[in-house]
Symmetry: C2
Subunit: 467 residues, 2 copies
């Protein structure tokens, strides 16, 4: 038995459910399906109730038990009615089972609950034949069917290894927070390449654009690129030739997966299968702490919203603040956001300096531009003109004084004067934000842990790699 | 009489020589020509001695009296012999007249001297017919002939106004120090546009590329651009269709002339005709002094060399230092050089900061590059790695510590380790340079005056414009 075989056997012991655990999940899902069918009979237009997702496909990872119940509606039912019905029905079913339901939102609203350690999602779809999709979830039953047909017992374990590897490497999950690989995408990779190590070996050699078209919906890679446009990763959906299963995968997560595959292939280790928390506690000393220039915009949430909505708002706001800092004259080395999804949000930036220089370059028009005299008249007597105008090439430039130089003041001014493109949903909370310039000022333990990882700056799989 | 007429009359009073001054220059030039002819008879291969330049064309500006004596050689004389002969002959003639000769260098060596306030140049050329040019100076006698034919008494005064305006605006002179408009070019502009104000009015509306082809050597502007390539200013030489008289004019001086023309056209004032020294003493308070970040590389010259050589070396060194500072992580807002052409050189930079940030971004390869693991292995255990590697797009990045952060130390290190692309001719002197970070440290009065102008940052004509 090779070293890799040993590692994978050990990993499988961690992530493959035992027969009794499988039995438990089976019973839980049957119970929910039964309740859902019962409840469904009280509504018109519901044609079917099915179990979908990793529980149906038997590809779930131990510790990540999840039951997806799909309520199939007649295509004549209005979308509004469908949404209203699935929310009502979902809440009823989950309340009855003590499942603590809450409203969630991906493309459409759905209901999430929890039974013991099992997450339950009650989701609506239309019962349609391909390719007459009405809503985004209509394909799911066909995905389930396809994967079940293609994966035997052994291949299902390979999927589990790949998902666990992706989880530990920080590239698993298609949600906005992650923008990584979905479970279905992991399954398709195993179907395409045949196994876990085969997938890693292939992914180590990926050069974008990567195109995977298992069912040969297209004649060539070129044809796929013509249809989908140049993208780093295109995996044509076997059940829908017009859909890229990897469309949510960001270039970064795609690249991180390539790199993680290379590192594991070169020096395989069980640590790639260990949760990050187990690893980092050993290695986390912040390099250059006290010397580095960090700004943290830290604020409390006044209302709870679905994670995908919140992360979307947070990422948009991070981007808006980044652009604002840049237009104010700062270079932004790095930025990231975090939220506990309930109370606290933060956006962190690393900069070369917390203070702008005394002066900045201000570009004027070319000398042959009709506005050139206007520019000169505007600036020649201005107190903020420190030098110039001089000419470089054909253009005028001046050195202009930076009147506000401190980054904290600049952010506060930007937020209070609405000059930052923040997400509307966070604007009110942001106005009450604290702005810190060292992580020691942050009291919340989880926020601080995130900031330590931010300062370390390595993706999950790299902070355990020591060469 | 309009305001402009009054200003131009006043300017002409300042810059047009009086009849008795004209008489004096005439006599001086005749004397030198006579001596040169006498001396020439002792050499073989000299066919003629003539007076050229502004004295011959009667377009010189009062206070800038200059006599160009051309020694015409037979085309069969070797270039080496020609150069040797003109140096020998020039030194003899000027010594005899107490002219204090020194060796100069433009395209070829020539001899410069001084009689009273008159500068004398003794220059060699080959006596050839167009277009059989052998050396760069062969065209000059044809230039003289052309200009004399084209300019009447009145037009010669218009040339004087244009030259004086260009001098005061800091765009006159084709030498490397200036890279501006030559006297011949000013004459051609007057010939082309008809007068001083006409030239300024046209120049105010110049939009590059500007093409002037007085003798219609070409059918169209497009044809000229095809032959000379895209350039901001092309003035086809009337005596040589293959030569651009404005080839030495930098984009900056071209643009400065456009802007000066616009400003004078809009608010004409005699101050545009006043030497800079008269103006700046009134206006020179350094804005933001003490807050601005200035580095001055100040060094002594161990040997005297022709100004064009020295300025070329100095500009090359300035550029090398600028690139070195940028590659070291500094932004260079502005830079300039100065020398008294005898003892002292300096190169000045204005930067946002005198200190580099604690860290800088260091770019690694894309993840799909074969060297990616090498990059990781190199940096993962390196003490200077402060954060990362992380992935942005498909590429790796780290934050790397700047071990030397002070600009003075960085320049010293660069010079001592030969990591700056300096001119060879200055390398030895540069190693003993002083590096200052405030102009108060500079003792030399003229150097300090230059630095005050550098900090002001306006071209000559703009520091007298107050809107």
């Amino acid at each position: 038995m090779t070293k890799i075989d040993e590692i994978l056997r050990e990993a499988l012991k961690m992530y493959k459910p035992t027969p009794s655990e499988e039995e438990i999940l089976k019973r839980v899902s049957e119970k929910i399906v039964r309740e859902a069918i019962l409840e469904s009979s009280r509504y018109e237009g519901i044609l079917d109730v099915t179990l979908e997702g990793s529980a149906a496909k038997e590809t779930w990872v131990r510790g990540r038990e999840e039951v997806d119940i799909f309520i199939h509606f007649d295509p004549t039912v209005a979308l509004e009615t469908l949404e209203k019905t699935v929310i009502e029905l979902g809440f009823k079913v989950l309340r009855k089972l003590d499942g603590n339901p809450r409203l969630m939102y991906a493309d459409h609203p759905y209901v999430e609950g929890r039974l013991g350690n099992v997450i339950v999602n009650i989701v609506a779809c239309y019962k349609v034949n391909p390719p007459n999709w009405i809503s985004a979830t209509d394909r799911t039953p066909y995905h389930t069917k396809y994967v079940k047909e293609k994966l035997d017992q052994n291949a299902r374990d390979e999927v589990r290894l790949l998902k666990a590897f992706m989880m530990c490497c920080g590239v698993y999950g298609a949600e906005i927070k992650m923008r990584g690989f979905s479970g279905y995408l992991a399954e398709l990779l195993i179907i395409n390449y045949g196994g876990f190590m085969e997938t890693l070996r292939e992914a180590s050699n990926w050069i974008p654009p990567v195109v995977i078209d298992i069912e040969k919906h297209y004649k060539s890679k070129e044809e796929v690129l013509d249809v989908f446009g140049e993208r780093h990763l295109i995996v044509v959906d076997p059940v829908d030739r017009m859909r890229n299963v990897a469309s949510a995968v960001s270039e970064e997560k795609f690249s991180e997966f390539i790199l993680a595959s290379k590192l594991f292939s070169r020096s395989p280790s069980i640590s790639f299968f260990k949760p990050r928390e187990e690893i980092i506690s050993k290695t986390s000393t912040i390099r250059g702490n006290g010397e580095r220039c960090i700004v943290i915009v830290y604020f409390k949430l006044s209302s709870i919203k679905p994670p995908d909505v919140l992360w979307g708002e947070l990422k948009k706001t991070e981007n808006g603040l980044k652009k604002y800092l840049e237009s104010s004259g700062f270079t932004v080395y790095r930025s990231d956001s975090w939220t506990d999804e309930e109370n606290i949000c933060l956006i962190a930036f690393e900069l070369p300096s917390l203070t702008l220089p005394y002066v900045k370059i201000h570009q004027g028009p070319p000398v042959h531009n009709p506005n050139v005299l206007q520019f000169i008249d505007k600036w020649i007597k201005n107190e903020d003109r420190i030098a110039g105008p001089w000419i470089s090439g054909t253009r005028l430039y001046i050195l202009r004084r930076n009147n506000i130089r401190n980054v904290v003041e600049i952010i506060r001014k930007g937020l209070s004067e609405n000059r930052v493109a923040v997400s509307k949903g966070l604007a009110e909370d942001l106005r009450k934000a604290e702005i810190y310039t060292s992580i020691e000022e942050v009291g919340n333990t989880r926020a601080r842990k995130f900031l330590e990882l931010f300062l370390d700056g390595r993706p999950a799989f790299l902070d355990r790699y020591e060469g």
